[in-house]
């Protein structure tokens, strides 16, 4: 009924009292703004976390030897013996048994950290002994040369794959690093390796944000054949390894099979067992944590919206009282009660919708800042915006209804006499 007139009237009313209109809308602006900001930041985080996980390989399975029950009084016994760990022979048997399912296996042994020095130039490194399967499973992106291959591993060649950062620090991009020998300075001596490949260094979301080290001091991983790392390692066997299933294999089902296989292997080991984790379960866990946080913040935002709605109702009641004479006049001129009710409900909706739109803009601005700080990408969800504006409309109807009914019920004689 007279929708256009009512909207124009409501806007004219708001314009005539801008400060009051803004203060009335504030609750709605904050409520809608925080919902938009939280949902947008939450979505950005979820997609950045799932990107990270899928770059790590969603169909990877981690096999990890852990203590059956950590004794709370003695604590972890710490050192593991080779007999408790997984040997190369066991791995080969496992791989042969499931040749149809396994795409690749990645084993690794940490070999400490050190420095590559060339005159005054240096680069910090972590040394990791790996096999040929690691390239695929750890999603290592090669820039130059090749990754370590099976021959490097079986022959225990002193070959190394280094990061582009290291190449930049040591060779200053002037010389081709491939085939060059580098000297590694560790606490226990100096060793030299030949560079066979260069990979592209990538910061992942978990290391991001707080990373303040300069490029010069940044410590990057240098990959060497696992057999070379074994020569200096305390344990020859492996505490953990990663399996990548073939694309046609259901990773979750295969993870169960792997669990059973290693449960059998460790059945007689009293102290240790094998734990199987796949990235999909990590991803689900991370997503559900983010969802929980979103729900909690949404609840707080809902309270802000409730308070905002009550604010709107309050100001609408004031407005009805202020305009008692106007209402009386309108009724005398022939306005039915329903017209008066519609006029005030439309006004309340306009306040809430304008507040909602300002809130959406404010929320997107806030999300842009937040997403920027978290190094994620801003993704604006159109459905959320539509829902938010729709929801503020509902708040307008809900909290405008009582004041509007009050206005509609006014007795024209009393209203005309009102001073």
């Amino acid at each position: 009924m007279f929708l256009k007139e009512n909207i124009l009237l409501a806007i004219a009313g708001l314009k005539s009292n801008k400060i009051r209109a803004l203060l009335t809308m504030l609750g709605i602006i904050i409520g809608i703004g925080s919902v938009i900001a939280i949902v947008t930041i939450g979505n950005a985080l979820t997609s950045s976390v799932s990107d990270t996980f899928s770059s790590m390989g969603a169909n990877n399975i981690l096999v990890n030897v852990t203590e059956r029950e950590a004794d709370p009084y003695r604590g972890s016994s710490g050192k593991m013996d080779d007999e408790d760990l997984i040997s190369m022979e066991q791995l080969e048997r496992f791989q042969a048994r499931y040749a149809d399912e396994i795409g690749a296996i990645a084993i690794s042994i940490g070999s400490g950290s050190g420095k590559v020095k060339d005159g005054r130039r240096y680069a910090n490194i972590n040394i990791e002994g790996v096999n040929e399967g690691s390239k695929d499973i750890n999603n290592i992106k090669m820039q130059k040369g090749r990754f370590l291959n099976a021959k490097d591993v079986s022959a225990s060649r002193k070959a190394a794959v280094v990061s582009d950062k290291l190449v930049h620090n040591i060779f200053k991009d002037k010389t081709d690093p491939l085939g060059k020998e580098i000297n590694i300075y560790k606490d226990d001596g100096v060793d030299s390796y030949t560079i066979v490949g260069v990979y592209k260094y990538e910061q992942n979301a978990f290391q991001g944000g707080g990373q303040t080290t300069s490029d010069q001091d940044l410590s990057t991983t240098m990959y060497i054949p696992v057999t070379v790392a074994q020569q200096t390692a305390e344990n020859q066997n492996f505490q953990y390894f990663m399996v990548k299933s073939k694309p046609s294999v259901d990773t979750a089902v295969f993870a169960g099979t792997v669990q059973k296989y290693f449960d059998g292997l460790y059945a007689n080991n009293e102290k240790y067992t094998c734990q199987i984790q796949n990235m999909e379960s990590y991803l689900a866990e991370a997503t559900s944590t983010l969802n929980t946080i979103s729900v909690a913040v949404a609840a707080i935002a809902a309270i802000a919206l409730l308070v905002g709605g009550i604010g709107v109702m309050n100001i609408m009641l004031v407005s009805v009282t202020e305009r008692t004479r106007e209402i009386g006049t309108r009724k005398a001129l022939g306005a039915r009660s329903i017209y008066i009710k519609m006029q005030f409900i439309v006004e309340s909706i306009i306040i809430c919708v304008i507040g909602g739109i300002i809130g959406v803009l404010f929320g997107i601005g806030l999300a842009a800042v937040g997403v920027n700080l978290l190094h994620a990408t801003l993704k604006i969800s159109i459905p959320i915006i539509i829902i938010s504006v729709g929801f503020s409309m509902c708040i307008g109807v809900f909290f405008g209804y009582y004041p509007a009914s009050k206005a509609a019920k006014l007795d024209p004689i009393e209203a005309l006499r009102y001073e």
């Binding site: 007139e5 009237l9 004479r325 309108r330 022939g334």
Partner: protein
């Protein structure tokens, strides 16, 4: 003038209850008939029941008992919504305090009764402009009430009262808030509406001089009509003299 009856009130009573034992009997068995084209004034001191009568004549209130037929429509047992419709189509109100809608232009104010009557935008804007031209407010039709003087506001209010071509104009102390010169101008406008438009006008006032300008003077006291006299309206010469 034709003999068509616009206001036909028979044995009207109006009581107010303020707690069970205290019943105020404001209007006592009142009968009043006004024919089409009449210019009637209802005069009475405050507390005489004048306002209560006006509310019932203006279809803002129902009588406790008795019959009221306005332009052929029985009012006494009507619902609120039907009363709204009757006010909208049959009555043009002119108030002492103008009661223009704030933050709405003169044009929008005149359009309002036509809007409630469901008239389309084009027709009502055209008619509102004509009416504002008639009351001499065409050049200020886009002004808001707070940009108009008292006399200008009352002229807009008269234009608004005429919007739906009502059966009667109900003017409640229309000059009460104006100085004498402006009040004179407003009265002249009402005379013009009466003479040229042939409108039935009911003027509520406590001012005997204003009442003397009308064709019939009904005097109320203690909820009863104490006198109802035909009055030879004062000569045009006198009206014009006081105007200039």
């Amino acid at each position: 003038m034709s003999g068509k009856v616009i206001i036909d009130m028979q044995h009207i009573n109006k009581n107010f209850y303020i707690g069970t034992p205290n019943e105020l009997h404001i209007i006592k068995d009142m009968s009043l008939t006004v024919t089409e084209g009449a210019f009637v004034s209802i005069v009475g001191a405050s507390g005489s029941g004048k306002s209560t009568l006006m509310n019932m004549v203006g279809v803002l209130d129902r009588p406790t008992s008795g019959d009221y037929i306005l332009d052929g429509i029985p009012i006494a047992k009507m619902s609120d919504n039907d009363m709204s419709d009757v006010r909208n189509r049959k009555i043009g109100f002119v108030f002492q305090t103008y009661n223009l809608i704030p933050r709405s232009s003169a044009l929008k104010n005149v359009e309002l009764p036509m809007l409630y009557a469901g008239m389309d935008r084009k027709t009502r804007t055209k008619r509102a402009k004509e009416l504002l031209d008639m009351v001499g407010m065409k050049d200020r039709m886009h002004h808001q009430p707070n940009e108009l003087s008292g006399g200008q506001k009352q002229r807009v209010a008269i234009a608004r009262a005429l919007a739906n071509d009502p059966a009667m104009i109900l003017a409640d102390e229309p000059t009460g808030a104006l100085d004498s010169a402006t009040g004179r101008m407003v009265m002249d406008l009402l005379h013009k509406v009466h003479k040229e438009g042939g409108k039935t006008i009911v003027l509520i006032t406590h001012n005997r001089d204003l009442a003397a300008e009308t064709e019939r003077i009904v005097t109320i006291k203690d909820g009863m009509i104490v006198s109802d006299v035909s009055n030879k309206p004062q000569s045009e010469e006198k009206v014009e003299a006081s105007c200039s």
